[in-house]
Symmetry: C2
């Protein structure tokens, strides 16, 4: 399988300096994209929510199976059956509220990532693609900290 190369389009600036589980709902982050992508944000202010796609650059190795958040109430599952960071490709997606757009910067609320994390894409939240009314999840997911 061929290697894929990509470059960050920008970075996050916020007050989250250490990893933790959950409790990010009120965090305000700024995402600063490279100035050459300033116009690529045109019209993003017409959305209430965006999906931030980022590279978890602190993850140095992957697990095949994993107990999410080390929580004893939670089973060991495959890494592709949870949202934990230690994935073969440590790419994550987080849906957040968009607060402001100015030039090459957006301000968002609820982002759960470390200051300085490289951003690889920003996508508007489209309910047609992203909203599932009747999703079934295993009960253990409700034991986790969000």
């Amino acid at each position: 399988m061929n290697e894929i190369n990509l470059k960050p389009i920008g970075f996050v600036k916020n007050n989250i300096k250490e990893l933790r589980f959950g409790n990010f709902a009120d965090e305000i982050s700024e995402i600063i994209v490279d100035e050459k992508f300033t116009e690529a944000l045109n019209g993003i202010e017409d959305y209430s929510h965006v999906i931030i796609v980022y590279w978890m650059d602190k993850v140095k190795d992957y697990a095949i199976t994993h107990r999410p958040q080390g929580n004893p109430k939670v089973p060991i599952v495959g890494i592709l059956a949870c949202r934990c960071p230690n994935r073969p490709n440590p790419i994550a997606i987080t849906t957040v509220r968009l607060i402001e757009h100015k030039g090459n910067k957006i301000k968002v609320k609820g982002l759960d990532i470390l200051d300085g994390t490289p951003i690889i894409d920003i996508k508007p939240y489209w309910p047609q693609y992203d909203k599932v009314e009747d999703a079934k999840i295993p009960d253990w997911v409700n034991e986790l900290d969000f």
Copy 2:
């Protein structure tokens, strides 16, 4: 900004041989992950929906602004304010119904990608992260083919 390297974890097998807009709801696709990741799928069968993260390998260049689907009812917007493929990093996410899990394969319904597309991640759909009740979108999104 440093380059990021990743490797596909698998590939899609389906009957979609040419790109088109919309009408993928009934398409059945098989995702075959590398055998070394077989156990990374343990427990995925407990979910009704998964998010497929993939590399749009047919995209050769990016746009800064773009008229989605070339639809004359739709404005020209920044590429980060739509879900079109010509992004700086052509990574896409599609949420689909999970039909079956057997060994290193899953079968899904509604995937909108070409046969042979490289898969870079599979994530379970967690409503806590992925479901927004009150998302606001610009009206033009409703003019597109889904």
